[in-house]
Each structure stands twice: as C-alpha cells, then as structure tokens.
Amino acid sequence: MTDFLQVLFVGIGDGAIYAMLGLGLVVIYRSTGLLNFAQGEMAMFSTFVVWTVWDLGVPLPLAVLAGMAGGFAIGALVHQVAVAPVGDPHERPLAVVMVTIGLFVGLNGLAQLIWGTLDRELPPLFGTGQVTIAGVAIGWQKIGAVIVLAVLALGFWLLFQRTGLGLAMRAVASNSESASLVGVPVPRLLMLGWGLAAAVGTVAGVFTAPGRGLGSNLMQLTLIFGFAAITLGGFDSLLGAVIGGFVVGIASSVVPQYVPGFEKIPLAPAFILILAVLLFRPQGLFGRQQVRRV
C-alpha cells in the first residue's frame, strides 16, 4: 500500500507539470485551432532565463517571476515575427504548424548556442524538504507543483470566464472575423495568448528542471505527455488539461510499476491513452463538439 501511494504521488507531481504545459497548449489551441509544437521549447528557453537570473544571485521565486515575464515576451515575439506573418492559422493551418515545428528546432539550437550543451542545475522551487502523510514521504516540491497548478488554472479560468479581455479572447478563438468586426483588435489578442501560454510554460519548465537537469532537451518528453494530457482532456478545455495531466501522470507512474512488460516502455501508457481517446471520444473528455447550424 505504501509503495502504491508513493508511486501515486510521483504520478500526481508529474501530472501537475504536464497539466501546466497543457494549459499553455490549450490557450494557443483556443486562439489558433492548432497544436503548438514549440510550446515545450519556449518553456525550456524561458526556464534558462530563470536559471540565468537566479545564477546572478536573485532569489529563486523572484527569478521565476522574471522568467515568466521573459517567457511572455518570448511568446509574444514568436507570434509577431514568426507566426502572424505566415497568415491566418484558420486558413493556412499546415503552414503555421510547420512554423511551430521550425521554432522547436530553432529555439533548441539557440538555447544551446547561448547556454551551451552542459546541463545546468536549477534547485527545486519548494526546496528538498518532505512531509510524511499516511506513512508516505512526499516532497514539498510535488505539493507545491499541485498548488501552483491550481493557482494557474484558476487564474486562466477567471481570465476567460470573468473578464472582458477573456471574453474577447474566446470570441477571437471562435470567429476571428466577427471579433474583428465588433472592434476587437485581433492580432493584439493573439499576441497576448501566445505570451500567456509561454509564461505558464515557464512554470512547467521550472518544475521539470530539478529532477532532470536543465538542458536544451528539458521539455521534449514533457511535451509528449502534455499532448497526451490535452488529447485526453479535450484540446480546448482548461479543466480537461488539468484532469488529463493528472491521469497521464498517474498512468505513466503506476502502470510501469505494476503491469508486467511496461517497465521498459514507460512512455507507452500515454500513447495508449491518446489512441484510446482518439478512437472512442475524439473531442476528449471535456472538449466541446462543434455545434453549428448552417
């Protein structure tokens, strides 16, 4: 039992990270209707920004805030110089997807150029301390990840459901031409969406780095799990990203431990989940099926 709880909590901690990256993916999916393949690399890049600021002697929490601001700037810049000039993602989806794949490679290369190829050490944001619950030791870092995720998800929910700005962002996502015709400055809101997605990605990177070492490949596995999370939860659902993140995290932790044969293929449960969802419920658990009368 203790073993199982131990494995479960590892899964929950990982799942919170996948969910954070998933939130960023959902925000961009909502505005463009596309998966942003560069989401992980944007997060990696801004995590390096966090490391650089921290390395200068700034306390880690402040460095994380600085990195989020840096991430926001990177996301906004990426949209302005690389995504927007390609054209309307609803009209040229493949071109924009190719751009995000190009950004994946480009940001990765740029990070190696700036910070080198040796892994850096970023300490855990919530320290290395542990608390014992029901005989199981849980790192504060994992509890912290769940709390931070809850704050981020709540923040996004409030933004989208309770503010005029969020309403405008949803309008742009649903019908950008009509949003434009009622006076919403569509390009600026798309830029805002990319900035926010990159900022939340920073936090995912900050929680990933301590266990894995901060290198240019920091988020590549996490991105796969993030995709699995939002496929499960629904591409356009914030709640789905959170639930999906936890399910994928727990499955990836528990299944290899208890199901014979999976210990050598720890990625497999995530892919099996993606496959099953696409077969039986393509819109995901919480995703909206398109309702449209013509």
Binding site: L181, V182, G183
Partner: protein, 235 residues
C-alpha cells in the same frame, strides 16, 4: 457633407480586382441599398469600407479618412458591420455575443443596452445563455443585428440579411430593422439580392454591376427603371 462618402473606391483579393472605382454616399440616418448580381462586388464594397480588406481611393466617415485604418478603429469610429452569413460567434452564448458587441464602448450602460435588446428581440432574451451557434438562422440574424447595434453605431453595414431565411422570417427581420433605425436614427448601407424587399426598405439605391455603379437614385424611381426591373426585379 454626407456621413459616409466613398470616392473612386477600388478593392479586390490578391491580383483580382473586384471594384473599379465606386462612388457612393450615405447621409446621417439614411437607409441606402446596393443592389447587384452575384459577384458584382457588393460584399467587397462593405468589406473595404469596414477595413476587412485593403481598399484604394477615398472613404470618408464624418469627415475623417478611413482607408488604411484597422477594422477595430473603424468600429470605434462608429461603423458596425454585419457580415454575410451573420458572423455568429458560435461558441459564445447569446449574452456574451451581445457583450462583445460593446467592446469599443467604455460607458456604463452596456448592461442596460443588453436588456433592451433582449426585450426588442424576445427570442434572444429567452435564449440568453444558449450557445449562439445552436440557434436558428433567423435568430442568429437578429442576434447579429443586435450585436452590431451594441456598439451604438452611426452607420450599419448590413450584408444580405435575407440569405438562407424563410420569407416570413426575412420580413420580420426587416420590420424590426426599420423600427430600430427609426428610433435610433442609425444610417444603414444594405446589400441585398432580394431587390423588391430592399427597395421597400431603403430610400435610395445604387446598382452595382461588375464592380461599377451603373445606376443610382431614389428607390421609388429605380423600382420603375426599365433596366433595373429586367435585371434585378425579374418582372
């Protein structure tokens, strides 16, 4: 000076020119219709005025030039545009559609206006929390018009409101529109294929053919014009 003055407007898509120098005017509070066959450039005219596509020439609204300004700035200047196909924001509720219509406003009367539109169009009030995309075509058209009026425009650009609607529903939409424009004093530049209906509604009309204005005058006069009758009224 007219509220809207268009002089030598040229516009198109890529290398394809659609408009070859259009002149038209709309006075404050005036109801004007642009008639024309499919592909004559009616929709393009409206899109060029509202900044959705680039245009060349002169478009002056209330004395200030519009060419080169962004759509959101043009809405802010007082022009609302209901696009062809109604432009329903499907994933938002009826109330949210109305609220986003007031995006350019910074006054505190938005909620009052929303309630007023829900009274004017009771169906919208009944379905206020329903996703707009799930409503019928007529309801969506009424929502589109109400949403456009939420910006308190001085000029409404209205693109083929009768498209895809049953005749009775179309008649109701036009009746409501007439009431609204009478009470608000909003000018309307309407684009329609249904010439009979449009000439009943508007005071003045232009006839567009292959990107050029070929006839213009009071609606009552154009109704009896032999070429217009043959080409657009089918009688």
């Amino acid at each position: 000076m007219s509220l809207l003055e268009v002089r030598g407007l040229r516009a198109g898509y890529g290398i394809v020119e659609v408009l070859f120098g259009i002149d038209l005017d709309v006075d404050a509070g005036e109801l004007v219709v642009v008639l024309g066959a499919n592909g004559s450039g009616k929709t393009t005219t409206l899109r060029a005025i509202s900044g959705m596509i680039a245009g060349r020439g002169e478009v002056t609204f209330d004395g200030s030039a519009l060419i080169g300004r962004r759509p959101d700035q043009i809405v802010g200047a007082g022009i609302a545009h209901v696009p062809q196909g109604r432009g329903t924001i499907n994933d938002l509720t009826v109330l949210e559609n109305l609220r986003i219509g007031a995006w350019t406003r910074r006054d505190g009367d938005v909620d009052t206006d929303i309630e007023q539109w829900c009274t004017t169009f009771p169906r919208l009030g009944e379905r206020r929390d329903q996703a707009a995309g799930s409503m019928s075509g007529g309801e969506q058209q009424m929502l589109a018009i109400a949403r456009a009026f939420m910006s308190r425009p001085r000029l409404l650009l209205l693109d083929e409101p009768s498209l895809g609607l049953a005749p009775l529903v179309t008649a109701e939409v036009f009746a409501r529109l007439r009431e609204i424009t009478t009470s608000t004093g909003t000018a309307v530049l309407l684009v329609e294929q249904n010439a009979n209906l449009a000439l009943d509604f508007a005071g003045r009309a232009y006839v567009l053919e292959a990107g050029e204005i070929v006839a213009a005058g009071p609606a009552s006069q154009l109704r009896h014009d032999e070429t217009v009758r043959k080409a657009y009224l089918g009688i």
